[in-house]
Amino acid sequence: MKKTDQDSRNPKPNTLVFLLSAVLLILCLGSLVWIGLAERTAAGKSALLAVISSEGAEDLVIDLSAVKEPYVLRIDAAGGGYNLLRISKEKVEVLEASCPDKICMRSSAIPGTHLPIVCLPNRLVIRYKNVPADSAGIDAISY
């Protein structure tokens, strides 16, 4: 890049490099701490509710603790795609997805975490909720 008049007014690149590196380092460390904390809290609790939201449909709330036998649920997306879910006592798993990337299938297979499962092409979001933590259930009626 050529030097312009505007550039000469900026602080020295070395100072900038140092500052920007520091910002990156702090962001990464913060994220790692966040990940660690999130996994620790997820390990301590057992999620009881699974909230399944898909485009153009009411939120589907499933009480996982009441599930005795695992069963398969098909969610059809507004765009024509579908996801096959396996609902069991512990978690929701995506068995099959109509999209080519299959990210939701892999992400739902991670053990121990209660990260939401997101299928972007079919606009499907599956979240876990602890009943005692938010009994008000504001999220469930926000659609």
């Binding site: 890049m1 050529k2 030097k3 505007q6 550039d7 900026n10 690149p13 900038l16 490099v17 920007l20 590196s21 990156l24 962001l27 990464c28 913060g30 994220s31 790692l32 966040w34 990940i35 999130a38 939201s53 485009e55 999209c99 080519p100 990210i103 939701c104 892999r106 992400s107 297979a109 991670i110 990260l115 939401p116 997101v118 972007l120 092409p121 606009r123 979001v125 979240r127 659609y143």
Partner: protein, 174 residues
Amino acid sequence: MKSSSVQKLTKLSLFAAVALAVYGFESLLPPLLPIPGMKPGLANIVTLLLLQKTNGKNTALVLLVRILLSALLFGQAVSLLYSLAGGTFCLLTELLLGRMLRGRALPLISAFGGLSHNLGQLLIACLLTASIAPLSYLPYLIVAGVLTGLFVGLCSHFLLKALPKSLFPQGGET
């Protein structure tokens, strides 16, 4: 049409083709981690090279051609939106930092580019699903964006040294 502009068009098309090929190759690789939106972003090497050697306008053109063609060839309608958001965020960040750092510290510029690319995509994911659930992936995407960005930046740094100057369009400053 002047011969210099034909030359420029040809060279930029070449870069767009290279970017598309790299993107296509990358889409065949199995993802390292099951986090939505996580990938190496190797096609960004072309963006960085062009930013260093020509100007923002040329780079934006090549990026746009690559995104449109890759959505047609490898993706679906929805992936176009993600790519556009990520690409725009990434390009603007790299353009700004490239100016501030005067083209130095390429891996650093690229790390911020990768970071903002992921943030842009996450923003679109939140908008499309009309929920903040995708934000749970934010810390993973921050770390991934920075690491892949550093890698891409290092690749570009060494490529810049190896590639002949005549490969790039001349007189890029406008």
